[in-house]
């Protein structure tokens, strides 16, 4: 179990991590999500004693990291992919790490077989691709068969098979009753792997919730309609059920090539379908969709993204989401869809 209590750290006056507290419980995969620069790596390094926090502490199974009698047995950590000496072979690197904690040579061979770097174990680590280096880091983390796993963006550079393998590994470890802390900036991957979510932005915890609750909170009852005549659809639906909300949205890749996209909320699927059918309105696409987790996460962390980038030749977007929320109409007239920015609402 990993307990982080009121951890704070400032680098050169700027607070990287500001009094965060959370617990990664046993038997669950805790997803640690946040945009770049939010403080995820700083937190993990503070847990492992690499960074000394200004205040607060981090406990692993009830003790701080440097008081553990066998650190590799308590925690396995994947921090940086390229963290082996480039002149050493994988085997030497793993053997050196294993020797510090009294782990036998057979375990090194086992771990090499698990992570699949058997064929390159005698080559210098400088010649590895990113995927192989990532697997080497994971191998070093698994050496002690640890009670807790701390993974800092472990899927960077892995091919889909590797991504799936890491996901299975996390779930396997959690099923055995160990605690896994997994950090990422990809909501979709974390939603598949994790049980608990800790969302961090600009050094502060934005939300701490279980994945199931997050999914439930952000699953809307929306219906997506692509139609050639949005005005007609709108009028027909509003006549039938006055409380409905019909908004224009931006088109997606998967939409039919013609038509305008609408998002309808406030009425059940069957009502809308029957209303449109009775009024003989033509629609090209009619789909019930749940809220996108990615959108929910973006909305949550948009205000606390550290690095905002724009496409060359465009103006930077200033507080677009606030203006979008204020308009009640749904944006038919103003056309909130800004083609260049690529996002509506």
């Amino acid at each position: 179990m990993l307990e982080i209590e009121e951890l704070s750290k400032a680098f050169r006056g700027k607070k990287a991590v500001d009094r965060i507290s959370f617990t990664a419980r046993n038997g669950r995969v805790t997803g640690f999500l946040g945009p770049n620069g939010a403080g995820k790596s700083t937190t993990m390094k503070a847990i492992l004693g690499l960074i000394r926090p200004d205040s607060g502490r981090a406990l692993i199974d009830g003790r701080p990291y440097d008081r553990l009698s066998s650190p590799m047995r308590a925690v396995g950590a994947v921090l940086d992919a390229r963290s082996a000496h480039k002149g050493m072979s994988a085997y030497a690197h793993l053997r050196a790490l294993a020797l510090t904690n009294g782990i036998p040579k057979s375990r090194v061979d086992e771990v090499i077989a698990i992570t699949g770097i058997d064929s390159v174990k005698k080559r210098n680590a400088g010649s590895y691709s990113l995927g192989m280096s990532q697997r080497l880091s994971i191998a070093a983390a698994l050496l002690g068969d640890p009670y807790n796993l701390i993974l800092d963006e472990p899927i960077n550079g892995l091919d889909p098979e590797g991504v799936k393998w890491v996901r299975e590994l996390c779930r396997y470890y959690a099923a055995q009753g160990r605690a896994v802390l997994l950090s990422s900036h990809l909501m979709s991957e974390v939603a598949l792997t994790a049980d608990d979510l800790v969302i961090i932005g600009q050094g502060r915890i934005l939300q701490q919730v279980s994945v199931a609750d997050f999914v439930r909170q952000h699953s809307g009852n929306g219906i997506r309609i692509v139609s050639p005549d949005p005005e007609r659809v709108r009028n027909v639906l509003l006549d039938a059920v006055p409380g409905m909300r019909v908004e224009m949205t931006e088109r997606k890749e998967s939409d039919p090539p013609r038509g305008y996209a609408l998002h309808v909320t406030g009425a059940p699927l069957e009502t809308v379908a029957q209303t449109l059918a009775h009024s003989q309105t033509v629609v090209y696409q009619f789909v019930q969709e749940r809220g996108s987790l990615e959108d929910a996460y973006m909305e949550l962390t948009h205000a606390s993204a550290e690095y905002r980038s724009t496409l060359p030749g465009t103006r930077p977007a200033a507080a677009q989401s606030q203006t979008a929320k204020q308009s009640s109409d749904g944006g038919f007239v103003n056309g909130q869809f800004d083609e260049q920015q690529g996002r509506g609402r």
């Binding site: 419980r25 046993n26 038997g27 390094k45 492992l48 004693g49 690499l50 960074i51 000394r52 990291y65 440097d66 553990l68 009698s69 650190p71 590799m72 047995r73 925690v75 921090l79 940086d80 390229r82 963290s83 082996a84 000496h85 480039k86 002149g87 050493m88 072979s89 030497a92 690197h93 790490l97 020797l99 510090t100 904690n101 009294g102 782990i103 036998p104 375990r107 086992e110 077989a113 698990i114 070093a140 050496l143 002690g144 068969d145 393998w165 299975e168 590994l169 779930r171 396997y172 099923a175 055995q176 009753g177 979709s188 199931a212 999914v215 439930r216 059940p268 009502t271 749940r290 987790l293």
Partner: protein, 396 residues
Amino acid sequence: MAAPRRGRHARPATDAADEWRPMKETQAQAEQEERAREEQARQSFQPQSFQPQSFQSVAPPPEPPSPVQNPSPAPASDTSAAPRTPAVLNTQNTRPRRPRARRPKPSSVPNGRLNLWGCIRSEFVKLFALASTYWLMGITLVLLPAGAAMSAWTVHWTATIDPQTGKTLNTPNPVDVADLWISVGGFVSTVAIVTGIFGVLAITAEYSTKSIQATLTANPKRLTMVMAKIITVSMIVFIVSFVGMLISWAVVAIMSNDWSVTQLSGREWRLPWVTLFGGAASLTLMALLAFGVGAICRSTPGAVFAYIAILTILPNILSIVSIVAKEFGWVGTIASVMPGGSIDRFLQMNVSSALTSSVSYDYFVPNWWQSLLVLVGWTALSVVLGSLVVERVDVK
């Protein structure tokens, strides 16, 4: 097996969507069912891709408790997800209980502990896995005898020359054995650069390749790590340089076989021991001094430059200042307690001979054992400062 699509797209075959039902029941119940199926799919998934036996012996997680009621008409439409786990659907708005988190079973890894001897062995593995170790130690083994041979030849040549006239003598003067011993250790202060680079690399290579993260994650006790590195570096450098001194001794002995050599006088009996062991010891002390400098700088080029500056550049500057300006004579004292000159002063044991100058100085110059203390003092200071820096500084 056909893997079920997990995540939010894992929808069962539509069973209830054909009929129109009031909104509240359908939505809530459909959501419950979907979530329950997702959870089953995630719980019961057996990771198949692990090869070694240690993982296979772990029992799968226990099945969730059997449901209270089962009102849904289509439990059998669960496709390939969970042959063992029963369908868990109930009318209350509670999701099926997850298996209680169990303590991890005893693993295949026997309980090892973090220990100093393990750390020392680990440092040996690391150093001997790198090519730079072999290069630097090889250069040491080559340079020491080469330098000794050149110095011995110079001694011999000096003995064949009349000091006043500069002409070759018919019968060469006998070669002072003290000079020969000094020539055995002649190149030690130069090879100190090589062993110093070895000491620097032992610590800065970790910082520059970010492998310090892996090292400190495996061993959070930083002083233990520093101690292990110090012990390892000293052992390797001492053994290699001692072997180098022995080879130099052999080379000089072979060269001076047919020269006429004086005997060791009574006061100089310590000279062989000081040369052999002291030469190896001073090279080890220099390696540790460079290690401390490397720990302070934590960057390979910076530390190597700082070390070479301490050894050669700084004493040069100080000597020039003390020579040029007579009133800065005290600067000469500072120059004479620099480590570079101290090595030679230690090894030469104040034996005045053809090789060592017998100029008298205005300022204090340490004699041989004082020079050794100077060396030890510098090394201790550098190592202590370096350990403090490594202990305190964050690894970003």
